[in-house]
Subunit: 188 residues, 2 copies
């Protein structure tokens, strides 16, 4: 182990994102990321399995957060309220809109990364479904509440990072939830 | 062009599915598929771009069907009713539960195919969103109605191909739609 590197993980993430934006994800090497961060490749691999993980590590944090929020929702909360509580917690991870925009631009530019993003969303929905089942919610209701919740999250997140958008993520999530209710209530 | 081959496309699809199930997708070659179907590789490539397309050609048919059904829904139909009309048309493409189960087993066994399936679902949601916008539905409502509709479709489809399930796809879709409405109406 080298000497202690203050916030090595954060510095690596920032360096990676800069390089992915400047040169593209595929053209960037781990050696370049480490160099830009003023760290070694060895330090990089202590924090990330590969250069793709820099972009998706936050997804696992979000998944843990969602699962915990669903489990911690009061017993009185119905399935969609438990999901709403989970989504409302997203802004403790998704703090910085500019970083989110930058990350999204990198992902949009690469087919493999777009696929990875879809897998992460599918994994979020599965984790939410399992967390709802853990509250005793039946399979059908759990699946629909979770999938609808991820739909709400996708739509709110896309608005949040859209150019010119000024509203914060939590009110956008709330608007999407209300819109989901309005849309679903229109069913004949 | 060789002599006319009756239902060459269907025979190739059936041969491919048999071989994918027996030996796995990766282990199967186009030459083997053509041979099993009693046709030539050249005939295969007149019908399919590659061996993956055999599994996903139906997705494009479904997408066209959904888009047309949304466009053709009566002017009086609200967004979710237009989406419901689209989903209700799915069983004109998804006729055979056993084939759907066989296809799903092949896809589940291969990471690349699972990713492709997620991309197809995301593409279906985008196409539905665009079709709703074409009816003058606002962006937020169109996105949520489309994404929620695909969530309903995913859940209903998974139930349809589950072992032991006897209900047909249309009633399962209707149950999922009703459950979506029930779930969303519970929002505090």
């Amino acid at each position: 182990m080298g000497r202690w590197q203050p916030n090595a993980r954060g510095r690596l993430a920032q360096a990676a994102m800069e390089l992915y934006s400047e040169h593209g994800f595929e053209q960037t090497t781990v050696a370049e990321i480490a160099k830009r961060a003023g760290l070694t490749e060895r330090t990089f691999f202590r924090h990330y399995a590969d250069k793709r993980e820099v972009l998706f590590a936050g997804g696992s944090v979000l998944e843990d957060l969602f699962v915990r929020a669903v489990a911690d929702a009061p017993d009185s909360a119905g399935p969609i309220d438990a999901v709403a509580a989970a989504l409302a917690a997203a802004d403790t991870v998704l703090l910085d809109r500019e970083s989110a925009r930058q990350r999204q631009a990198v992902i949009e530019a690469n087919a493999e990364l777009r696929e990875r993003e879809l897998i992460k969303l599918a994994s979020l929905a599965s984790a939410l479904t399992a967390a709802l089942r853990g509250r005793g919610v039946t399979d059908l209701t759990a699946s629909l509440a979770a999938e609808a919740g991820i739909a709400v999250f996708k739509v709110a997140f896309a608005r949040w990072i859209a150019e010119g958008e000024r509203k914060d993520l939590p009110p956008l999530i709330r608007e999407s939830l209300d819109e989901l209710r309005a849309v679903a209530s229109g069913l004949s």
